[in-house]
């Protein structure tokens, strides 16, 4: 019965060898998004800009981020509410690179997202995607509401 012990030994040696050889590690750690504004359930003012603020971090280097806003009326069925005249469901998608690329930590604060006057009121999703330099991707989703009655968000600074 020497042979099985020998086989097991060979097997374990091969496995151990592989594990040792594989110590150098690629980056598969996602960046971290800490979205401060807008928050879940916030009301965004139609005709105003969006107070957008977040902290991003990555263990190696950040890449870029993207903000995507789309409506969530009727559970994504795109039926238009007939009576309202000439409003258009708001859709927004834009990416930012320069502000964060290559950094380990970044604070983002801007008012570059503008909601036009003709945007349809209702429930929307706001998604923030962020990648690091290696292509690891994180995202967060918040539910927001677009409204004419929405108050302009007061600034803390």
């Amino acid at each position: 019965m020497k042979t099985p012990i020998f086989s097991i030994y060979i097997c374990l040696t091969i496995m151990a060898g592989i594990l040792v050889a594989s110590c150098d590690k690629g980056d598969n750690v996602k960046p971290v998004i800490n979205l401060i504004e807008p928050e879940e359930g916030d009301v965004l003012q139609i005709g105003g800009d969006v107070h957008f603020e977040m902290k991003l971090s990555d263990d190696v280097a950040l890449g870029s981020y993207k903000v995507d806003i789309h409506h969530n009326f009727d559970n994504h069925g795109h039926e238009k509410s007939g009576e309202e005249t000439e409003t258009v469901p708001f859709e927004f998608s834009r990416e930012w690179v320069e502000d964060i690329a290559g950094k380990k930590n970044a604070t983002v604060h801007h008012h570059e997202i503008v909601i036009p006057e003709n945007a349809t009121e209702g429930a929307y999703h706001l998604m923030v995607y962020c990648t690091d330099a290696a292509g690891n991707e994180a995202y967060v989703t918040v539910n927001v509401e677009l409204s004419h009655e929405g108050e302009e968000h007061e600034h803390d600074e």
């Binding site: 496995m15 993207k66 559970n75 998608s93 995607y129 292509g135 989703t141």
Partner: protein, 718 residues
């Protein structure tokens, strides 16, 4: 009779008479010297240089789950990639999708294997015997059989003229599944005919959790049932075999229809309102998928002296539809007039032809020459786009030799050349172009994105082969080694897909210039059985010069609701691991078996693991077997999987306990059998790293009680 290397399982192989090798009948005639009591499993295992497991009738019944792949998961090295509770696809040693070949009645099963949410379309009740080959099997099966092959086979006809049949009834508590199957057949002289109908209906499945996390939002699970995961299956098949003298043939037609709902919370953007209990746990509303798989095959075989010739022809039509309430992000796209909610349709037709000629000039040598041809055509429809239309043609020529210089040594090797042609149609999306123009993208960008798929015409040539040796130094020891080179033609999705896959929520983009996937694999195995004691070890290492994976590009997709673009890219990759098993029988009716398996994967370019790497796991099975009953208790330990690809989450481990028992009722008269099993005894909440719903943080089904009743009958006729 005992091959106890895995569970009690393998000692219960179908006992087949050697002169009745339906499955590999081409080499039947030179088995005449083999001891008639040897099981088919032992025979295959002793002859194949690759690691082979045979799941016979008893194994399939004892581990019945209503789902073939989940049953095969009890074989070390095999995993099941589940889509809810009803459907699964196989993974062997960390390779799944198009890297595994599944054959039934000699024909390679062709569906939409590339899709993460597409299961294996076979009737689980119509499976009589399964052979699982681990390791590169391209030599025998051509493209796709890189990681291994699963052969679904028929048992040989009974020796006496008779009418026979069986009724099966099964129920599962976890999803309220009720399944039934009825088979009727006869054997009359040269004819052997069987017809089967099977049906399965299941409800939403239960999970041991009240919430799931999707797109960072916590979603409620009402009543601990995953809404809209219900579905049903209807299958029918007819098989006829004819054997007279040196001539044999069989004819088989089967149709499998499946419908299953998608968990609404994991489809599109999360919304708690869609998860409200609709009061009916057995309905599959939108979104859902249906698939109909029709398959017809013919086999002809003739043996003259030491020459045997076999011809297999097959036709398959795989029709898959995915339905989801009409939605578009391109304002100008109207809902289709007919079937406005039909999102995606794939119709894949496959014609295949294969010929084998075997020549056995002496008991020491056997040579086989083979020729395989396959033609595929995929057509699409639906308001959404993912995969273009294409035609694929492949043809392969192979030569295989076996040398048996003595009873305990056999060397086999072969070489194969395949040519593949891929012709992919272009697809332009005018709505997308308008949408992009409206959003202020340049004409150039809009025009470039307008082409969701470019026309691709490619030709591939691939050489594959293997060389193996099996050595039985003494009756109880067996040593095998095999080195093989295998290949896989890139799929249409890898060459030309371009769009957000609603199953993976990623913008997946093909690369029309990808070369074939190619790899080398070395397998070694050792088995020893002595005095009720068995030990089995099978390590393997494989290396791929071009392993195709979805690489995160770091570039944002312009498509709405998509993150970055994932591009199909080739990388150098390494797989290594193996299976270890040991078993002991004691006090005549008790047994204890332990199996363990591990797969290490590495993308050498990215220096991280590959996605869907199965975690290490171990099973301990204690069994008792009496004359009319048997009981098994199992402890399954699954390690955590922390070695993940980019953008894949690690999965925690789990300890699970299962119980199984089989009782034969009235063994003298009707020989009915009842198999009871209790899966996940402690209702443990755990995740399967390979499951489709894993990324939505949906745990695996909870405690499941299952019953299978089998009533066979037979009546001899003249």
């Amino acid at each position: 009779m005992r091959i106890g290397h895995i569970a009690v399982v393998f000692c219960l192989f179908c006992l087949l008479r050697v002169n009745a090798q339906e499955t590999d009948s081409i080499r039947t005639f030179h088995l005449n010297g083999v001891d008639i009591s040897e099981s088919y499993g032992q025979f295959v295992r002793r002859r194949s240089a690759l690691e082979v497991n045979v799941a016979g009738h008893d194994f399939l019944r004892e581990h019945f789950t209503g789902n073939l792949v989940q049953t095969l998961e009890h074989i070390p090295g095999v995993h099941s990639m589940d889509i809810g509770s009803g459907f699964s696809k196989p993974v062997i040693r960390g390779m799944g999708f198009n890297r595994i070949s599944v054959t039934e009645n000699g024909i390679k099963q062709e569906g939409q294997q590339w899709g993460a949410d597409h299961g294996l379309e076979t009737d689980v009740f119509d499976v009589e015997c399964v052979v699982v080959r681990k390791g590169p099997a391209s030599l025998l099966y051509g493209s796709d059989a890189m990681g291994g092959a699963i052969e679904i086979m028929r048992l040989p006809p009974p020796s006496e003229n008779q009418i026979f049949g069986e009724a099966l009834l099964s129920g599962r508590s976890v999803n309220g599944a009720i399944a039934e199957s009825l088979m009727l057949g006869f054997k009359k002289d040269a004819w052997h005919v069987k017809a089967r109908y099977s049906g399965q209906d299941f409800g939403d499945y239960r999970i041991p959790a009240d919430t799931v996390v999707y797109l960072t939002q916590l979603l409620p699970i009402y009543g601990r049932r995953l809404k809209n995961t219900a579905g049903f299956e209807r299958d029918a098949s007819l098989y006829a075999g004819y054997r007279k003298g040196a001539y044999r043939s069989h004819y088989a037609v089967s149709n499998v229809y499946q419908k299953s709902g998608f968990f609404a919370g994991a489809h599109g953007i999360p919304d708690a309102s869609r998860l409200q209990d609709d009061g009916n746990p057995r309905n599959a509303e939108l979104p859902f998928s249906t698939v109909n798989h029709l398959k017809a095959s013919v086999q002809q075989q003739y043996t003259a002296g030491n020459l045997s010739v076999r011809l297999d022809a097959g036709y398959q039509n795989n029709h898959r539809e995915e339905w989801s309430l009409f939605h578009t992000h391109y304002g100008t796209q109207p809902a289709p007039e007919h079937d406005p909610d039909k999102e995606l349709v794939f119709r894949l037709q496959t014609y295949s032809l294969s010929a084998r000629a075997q020549w056995t000039p002496s008991p020491v040598w056997a040579h086989t020459v083979g020729w395989d041809v396959q033609h595929q055509r995929n057509r699409i429809a639906g308001y959404s786009f993912l995969l273009p239309e294409y035609r694929r043609f492949s043809a392969g020529l192979l030569w295989l030799s076996e040398w048996h210089p003595s009873g305990n040594l056999s060397v086999s090797g072969g070489i194969r050349y395949d040519e593949g042609r891929m012709n992919i149609a272009a697809y332009a999306d005018a709505y997308l172009a308008t949408y992009l123009a409206e959003r202020g993208y340049s004409d150039e960008t809009a025009t470039a994105y307008r082409w969701r798929s470019y026309p691709v015409r490619r030709r591939f040539g691939n050489l594959s082969g293997s060389l193996g040796v099996v050595w039985n130094p003494a009756g109880e020891h067996r040593l095998k080694a095999n080195i093989g080179r295998s290949f896989r033609l890139p799929g249409a999705n890898e060459l030309a897909s371009n769009g957000v896959h609603h199953g993976t929520f990623r913008h997946e983009q093909g690369d029309p210039s990808l070369p074939s996937e190619r790899g080398w694999q070395l397998d070694v195995s050792y088995a020893c059985e002595q005095d009720g004691l068995s030990v089995f070890v099978s390590p393997f290492v494989s290396w791929f010069g071009n392993y195709i994976y979805l690489k995160p590009s770091g570039k944002w997709s312009v498509l709405p609701h998509a993150g970055q673009v994932y591009r199909y890219t080739g990388a150098k990759a390494l797989f290594a691991g193996g299976e270890i098993a040991a078993g002991v029988d004691f006090l005549r009716c008790f047994s204890y078996n332990v199996t363990a398996e591990y797969v290490y994967t590495r993308n050498l370019d990215e220096r991280v693991a590959l996605s869907f790497s199965p975690p290490a796991s171990m099973r301990h099975v204690a069994g008792w077997k009496g004359k009319h009953a048997q009981v098994e208790a199992e402890w399954q330990a699954i390690a955590a999987q922390r070695r993940t690809a980019k953008n894949e989450d690690p999965t925690a481990g789990a300890n699970l306990f299962h119980l199984r028992t089989t009782v034969r009722i009235l063994p003298e008269k009707i020989n009915a059998e009842v198999t009871l099993s209790l899966h996940n005894l402690l209702n443990k909440k755990y995740y399967n790293h390979l499951s489709f719903y894993r990324k939505v943080e949906i745990p695996e089904p909870g405690r499941n009680f299952q019953i299978l009743l089998k009533i066979p009958f037979k009546q001899n006729i003249k």
